[in-house]
Amino acid sequence: MLDTNPNFVLAVEGLTVSFDGFKAVDDLSFYVEPNECRVIIGPNGAGKTTVLDLLCGRTKATAGSANFKGHELLSMREDQIVHAGVGRKFQTPSVYEDLTVFENLELSYPHGYSVFGALAFRRSAAVRSRIKEIAEMIFLDTLLEEKAAFLSHGQKQWLEIGMLLIQDPELLMLDEPVAGMSVAERKSTATLLRTIVADRSVIVIEHDMGFVADIATRVTVMHQGKVLSEGSMERVQSDPRVIEVYLGH
């Protein structure tokens, strides 16, 4: 039924995971539309990161379904989920510190995924120009030869976003993309997110309410593994339950 509905890129229904009886995510349902930037907020321990872990295959769900354009994500392997078009950024920036910015992006270039494909992979002009294009988007085009270890925290966050963008996913999941960024970097990131959401859907987990207001199409508030409230930023902010558990303090 769901995969016949073209309005949703992602339909999550009844998503549940239980760790030794503790339900970190409990019967969660939400729907993401094309070109939507969905922000998930909620107090610590609400299960936000776990939702992303479940969707990208890092954690196995106990029950429920997550339908991405006809693919059932919950039964797929991590790399298959990536190939289906779902990209995920981790909370702490995960870049390859011993490699240069160029090489970091190159390894994410969607070609040569098999062992022998990787052995035969060549830096063609197309690869190079695509890397340059992405590097400009993520403000790192002058740092291509720099080792990732020498980037600032914010630049590493951008680099990881770039590593996802180069794969051109239809659904991008970002876990706290502006954590540790300066105010100026946050502004740039918001601009970047508005650009990339033009071609795809994005799910963002974020605590910075100013940033959320800047980017969100819709907001889902999670509390104790469940959806507490959902809707536009204004609606969510005026919801008394949300104010009580999250925004109030």
Binding site: H83, T100, L107, S114, V115, E160
Partner: protein, 379 residues
């Protein structure tokens, strides 16, 4: 590594390969007598293992403490062929069952076991030298890496494999020659491998094969697969969530390391004239890791020097102070890990290379050598 070019060999690499070639093919043969040259040939067979370890451990972060298994399997495959060739009915006429290897006869075997039969063929034996270690590595790799066993656990399990294979070989004396190994090997297709001239030829064959392995290793390191290995070592999850099946890359590099080790083992058998379980077990496997660590676990060239140097020290020291050698080896390993984590190659890159660069300098003299630059050079 520059943005525009990603050549197979940098100038540094070419110099490194050229110097090593000069050492192996010119310097050592000129400087050493036949006996010593054969000894160095033996040391160089361990270099195959060390080069494989640079790929698995240095680049990929997969520490195997069981490379002796693959070295031994390659060596045994070669030894089985040579033993069958040496066990002609004429040579073994005094046995109760002539025509089978002597140790089988001593163990009351009356026929050649079926799995020995194919080793009558040299072509099969040469194929098996690579195929048997690779098959074993593949099975271990699939079992471990698909289940995401890694790090210390993987190291311990590989060590257990080394112990198991040793026990198996010793226990199955009638099939394997037991603790003595397979000895008294004579000819290869009628060519007597025990003569000085044969040993000299084998030394050069060994050198050529080692360079072939070094070229393959260099190609792998410079390919995207090489960079993926480094990426996996640092951020395995990021690689996985970039769409790569991490396990298949680990299995591949582990199999490649096993193939190198198998070739080394076969060359050991040919040059030394026997194969025994003492070369398979835990101690030799750990020694092989030490060769790699001393030479520099990030440098394939360094690993070759590590194997040469440690073995040479082992021979010299254990001749004079047999009881101190093991302690010395342990101390050496600790010292290298503590003081020079990148081994000889790291020392070269950090202290020697900048001086040489200054001698021929076109760049401003005294350019600071950061640890990171040193590491780049060491790779």
């Amino acid at each position: 590594m520059s943005l525009r070019s990603n050549r197979l060999f940098s100038v540094q690499d070419i110099i490194g390969f050229a110097i090593l070639a000069a050492v192996i093919f010119v310097l050592l043969p000129l400087a050493l007598d036949d006996f010593r040259l054969n000894l160095f040939g033996k040391y160089l067979t361990y270099a195959f293992v060390a080069v494989g370890l640079v790929l698995c451990w240095g680049a990929g972060g997969i520490l195997s403490l069981g490379q002796g298994v693959f070295f031994g399997l390659g060596g045994y495959c070669m030894a089985m062929f040579l033993k069958l060739e040496a066990s002609t009915p004429e040579n073994t006429a005094i046995q109760s069952t002539p025509g089978i290897p002597d140790f089988m006869d001593w163990n009351q075997l009356t026929a050649l076991p079926w799995w020995w039969e194919p080793f009558n063929s040299l072509a099969f034996a040469l194929f098996a030298v690579v195929a048997v270690p690779v098959t074993f590595a593949f099975i271990i790799g699939v079992a471990m890496f698909r289940r995401r066993v890694g790090g210390v656990y993987f190291a311990i399990i590989t060590q257990a494999f080394a112990a198991i294979l040793t026990i198996l070989i010793i226990g199955q004396q009638g099939f394997t020659g037991g603790v003595n190994g397979i000895t008294d090997l004579r000819t290869l297709q009628g060519w007597d491998i025990r003569t000085d001239s044969a040993k000299e030829t084998l030394y050069y064959v060994n050198g050529v094969l080692l360079f072939a392995c070094l070229f393959i290793a260099q190609f792998v390191r410079k390919s995207k697969l090489g960079r993926l290995l480094i990426a996996m070592r640092d951020q395995e999850d990021r690689v996985r969530f970039s769409g790569y099946d991490v396990a298949s890359f680990k299995i591949f590099i582990f199999c490649l390391g096993a193939a190198f080790a198998g070739i080394g083992g076969a060359m050991f058998t040919l040059q030394v004239g026997f194969m025994s379980p003492t070369l398979v077990g835990i101690v030799p496997s750990i020694e092989m890791v030490i060769f790699c660590a001393v030479g520099g676990r990030l440098s394939i060239i360094g690993a070759v020097y590590g194997a040469l140097l440690v073995n040479w020290a082992k021979t010299s020291l254990s001749e004079s102070f047999p009881e101190l050698w093991l302690l010395g080896l342990g101390a050496l390993f600790i010292a290298v890990v503590m003081a020079f984590p990148n081994g000889l190659a790291g020392v070269y890159a950090e202290y020697v290379a900048p001086r040489i660069a200054r001698l021929f300098s076109r760049s401003p003299p005294g350019a600071p050598m950061t640890e990171d630059r040193a590491r780049t050079l060491a790779e």
